[in-house]
């Protein structure tokens, strides 16, 4: 009896280790495939893929400065990736990250220049402005879904455009600093985030990591996360357990919007120091969908995949200038990675077929 138990326990340990590996395996395979197919493309247009990938590597890991720049690129993607992942855990698809980003970006800039305060009040206040505006922007879509059943994909897209034109109007009009540039005045020193000397890397990156840790804690250690996940997996079951589906949808979209909003706040407070009138969507919200997908909607995975996308986007610029490879190649690689992750199901099927042929034991029992 005792021996049986230890065997069972050992198996369980092995199993969870294998699960762990198999969860990580697919994204890694997707990235390898992406790079391979990218290489084929480069060969086809007569470029040297090895050289290009060396440039890609060096752009992030060749120098400290380059590494810092990569982290700068990574920062907003962590936020928007977390935003998509969190909403998804509640069964909702937030593609309004760009709108939430812009409205928070503008609000933070305004709070940053309009009042003078000591930094330990000014910084939290400016962040809070972004959290609240982004949260309300997302939460409203959640509210419409919960009360009227309007699909959040539609409302978040519409809210994106409202945000784009509304912030465009504000920054080009009431909030514009008189002068040539369609932008707000610069935010005060007291609202700026500390930077690593001689680089653009700033505390925003730390804030993003803290946000990821908090979201992890929220999802798996608190009643809020428990309820959000229950609603995401089975709303009827959750309802029966006394969990309000409507309330959790609003809450999840608020938190999701707040996360995307933080990307905007940090962009102003750590990098640009003012809000520029937008010409179109920057696409952080959209890339956030890919980041969340590759990161399996897990905060840890989101941080890693945001880093990958940060490396790729920095590498794209350098590959263009140093290896003569058009930066669109990087976009192709990104698209292929996303494609393969999305097609994971297909892979699982093929893997199962192969395993059957060989008659081995199955790794994943469904």
């Amino acid at each position: 009896m005792d021996r049986d138990k230890t065997i069972a326990e050992e198996r369980k340990g092995q199993q969870s280790f294998l699960n762990y590996i198999s969860v990580l395996l697919m994204p890694v395979i997707a990235v390898i495939f992406g790079l391979l197919i990218g290489a084929i493309f480069m060969k086809l247009i007569g470029k040297n893929p090895l050289q290009a990938y060396q440039v890609l590597w060096n752009s992030s890991f060749g120098s400290l400065r380059g590494f810092y720049e990569t982290l700068v690129n990574t920062t907003p993607l962590i936020f928007t990736g977390l935003a998509v992942a969190f909403a998804f855990r509640c069964g909702l698809f937030n593609i309004g990250g760009d709108g939430q980003f812009l409205i928070a970006y503008t609000a933070t800039a305004w709070v940053g220049y309009v009042i003078s305060l000591p930094w330990f009040i000014h910084i939290p206040l400016a962040l809070l402005a972004g959290i609240i505006l982004g949260g309300v922007w997302g939460g409203f879509a959640g509210y419409l879904k919960a009360t009227l059943g309007v699909h959040e994909v539609i409302t978040t897209i519409m809210m994106n455009y409202i945000s784009l034109y509304f912030t465009g109007y504000l920054i080009g009009g009431p909030l514009m600093k008189p002068g040539a540039l369609p932008a707000t005045p610069k935010i005060l020193e007291s609202a700026r985030l500390w930077r690593v000397p001689h680089s653009r890397l700033n505390l925003g990156f730390m804030i993003a990591l803290i946000a990821a840790a908090l979201i992890y804690y929220l999802l798996w250690k608190t009643t809020i996360g428990y309820e959000v996940r229950a609603v995401g997996l089975n709303p009827d079951g959750a309802e029966y357990g006394g969990i309000s589906v409507a309330r959790n949808m609003v809450l999840a979209m608020f938190i999701s919007g707040a996360l995307a909003g933080l990307a905007g706040s940090v962009q102003v407070m750590g990098l640009e120091y003012r809000a520029y009138q937008p010409f179109g969507f920057i696409g952080y919200g959209f890339t956030g969908i890919a980041v969340a997908l590759l990161g399996k909607n897990h905060p840890g995975g989101v941080v890693l995949s945001a880093l990958l996308f940060g490396i790729l986007s920095r590498g794209a610029m350098q590959m263009q200038s140093l290896a003569g490879v058009p930066k669109e190649v990087i976009e192709i690689i990104q698209a292929i990675i996303i494609f393969f992750v999305a097609a994971e199901y297909m892979f699982t099927l093929i893997a199962r077929k192969i395993k059957r042929r060989r008659g081995g034991i199955s790794l994943v029992n469904q």
Binding site: I224, Y226, R229, L233, N234, G237, Y240
Partner: protein
């Protein structure tokens, strides 16, 4: 054509292991041509697993499968289907918005110029349905037909693909007594046509009524295969559970106290917007079990949903311990001391993709000792949950597995454990023993009576007259959303209830009779 003793199927030494469970341990199983072979075993014994190995849904770790004497490597359901095997699953796998005909031909559609030949599909289905007396309407949408009909669609689907061997996994668990009778007739006509049937059920009465032979499995091993005539129901129960089982419920007299639940003139609509509760009135006292008897679809589901805050009430009042709780939220109702075992465990009762420990705290997850503020205490949760798993004999390797990997009956025990442990003043139990084995039924019935004897009020809703009769102290009959009569257990007989359930007690019927 084939002699009765030829083997349709021969499974040899089938072994299948899941992490932490040996679900099948070198199982031998033989099915003769034209026979109905019952497969009997406790919840989690490995019946469904064995059938899934046969149907190609699982790959056995060891063992051989012979179909009609030929060794077959069943690596996918398609191969099983090619060899004439059809399976009707414990949980149906139909596409609700599709029509009956579309569902039946799905996967092997008759085509004309690359398109689905709708007309031929309907004709084919009609012909098959007639031949076996199944009586389904090929044009109806699956979402609009009853569970019993859906099951016939599953059977037709298997027949359409040319099945000679049918696997029916707990087909009767979801059926009304009337539908069970009809299914038994259908099964008989199928064997007369030369089909062989593997029939999984927990109801010994059904085994006795229809099967030729029985194989009993316990914890993954075959205990014995016997001919049905040579074993009594208590023999079978003993073989299954490994000890004597009390098939009769033993209970002392009730000592009813004050009224706990009082409902007056309840009116509520069903999902289609029609009035499903039409002035329901009754009350339940401390220390008694009130059974609600009725044919399926007379407002039972709506009644439980209204009482638990899951459905809005149009009219009427609900008093709980004298307090008006009409249109309270589900959480508030749980907090005032109501527990609820829902009839649909996969849809309502569980979050299948949650772990066992997450499911076992649902509803109390935000309260001490499970949580303080918003922080959950997983050490405490695990400790409590392990106690529940032990106390309710939930067969699982550990508390970390997902609820969906448990066997059907064990899923039910998860819900029971959670709801009983809440120590409620009122227990609402809807189909509490659906799909659970005789040992577990004994256990559940005992626990329900214990609740009563501890001074709780119990509202039992069941489609099984046997269960109503053996547990209830008073029996209310529901018909078209109204309680047509409430009988004392002593005056209730099966015949009387049957008449009332058919609508003989309504004002309309009485007026018409006079």
């Amino acid at each position: 054509m084939a002699g009765k003793n030829e083997l349709a199927l021969d499974l040899r030494k089938i072994t299948k292991e899941f992490p932490g469970v040996l679900a099948n341990d070198s199982v031998d199983f033989q099915l003769k041509k034209g026979e109905i072979h019952a497969l009997l075993g406790e919840n989690g014994a490995g019946k469904t697993t064995l059938m899934k190995c046969l149907y190609g849904l699982y790959q056995p770790d060891a063992g051989e499968i012979y179909i009609n004497g030929e060794k077959v490597d069943v690596t996918s359901p398609n191969i099983a289907i090619e060899h004439g095997i059809g399976m009707v699953h414990q949980h149906f796998m139909l596409v609700p918005p599709f029509t009956v005909a579309e569902n039946i031909v799905l996967g092997s559609e008759p085509r004309r110029r690359g398109m689905l030949d709708e007309k031929r599909a309907i004709e084919d289905v009609e012909r098959l349905s007639e031949r076996y007396g199944l009586n389904v309407d090929p044009r109806a949408r699956v979402q609009d037909i009853s569970v019993g009909m859906q099951q016939r669609v599953e059977i037709l689907k298997a027949l359409y693909r040319g099945a000679d061997i049918l696997i029916l996994d707990e087909p009767t668990a979801v059926l009304t007594p009337q539908e069970v009778e009809e299914l038994i007739e259908i099964m008989k006509s199928l064997t007369e046509e030369g089909k062989s049937i593997i029939f999984i059920t927990h109801k010994l009465k059904e085994v006795k009524a229809i099967s030729d032979r029985v194989t009993v499995i316990r914890r993954g091993r075959v205990i014995d295969t016997v001919s049905t005539d040579s074993a009594t129901t208590s023999d079978l129960a003993r073989m299954m559970v490994g000890r004597e089982v009390v098939l009769r419920v033993e209970k002392g007299p009730a000592h009813p106290g004050e009224v706990i639940l009082e409902v007056e003139n309840l009116k509520a609509k069903n999902d289609r917007g029609l009035l499903a509760l039409n002035g329901t009135t009754f009350s339940v006292r401390r220390g008694e079990i009130l059974g609600i008897a009725g044919v399926d679809g007379n407002g039972q589901s709506e009644l439980t949903e209204v009482l638990t805050g899951l459905r809005e009430l149009e009219e009427g009042r609900i008093l709980f311990k004298g307090k008006d709780i009409t249109n309270f939220s589900t959480r508030d109702i749980i907090e005032t001391g109501v527990s609820y075992i829902p009839e649909d465990r996969q849809h309502r009762g569980l979050v299948l993709d949650f772990t066992l420990y997450e499911n076992l705290i649902m509803g109390n997850h935000y309260q001490p000792p499970y949580a303080r503020g918003i922080k959950m205490n997983y050490n405490k949760i695990r400790k409590e949950v392990r106690r529940l798993i032990k106390e309710f004999d939930i067969r699982t390797p550990n508390e970390d597995v997902l609820a969906k990997s448990l066997s059907g009956g064990n899923q039910q025990k998860v819900i029971l454990a959670r709801e009983f442990d809440r120590d409620p003043d009122l227990l609402i139990a809807a189909q509490p023993t659906r799909g659970v084995d005789v040992g577990a039924i004994e256990f559940i019935h005992k626990r329900i009576i214990e609740q009563r004897d501890a001074g709780k009020a119990v509202l039992l809703i069941s489609l099984e007259l046997d269960e109503i009769l053996s547990l209830s102290d008073r029996i209310a009959v529901i018909y078209e959303g109204e309680i047509v009569d409430i009988l004392d257990r002593k005056e209730a007989t099966e015949e009387k209830l049957g008449l009332l359930m058919a609508g003989a007690g309504t004002r309309r019927a009485m007026g018409g009779g006079a």
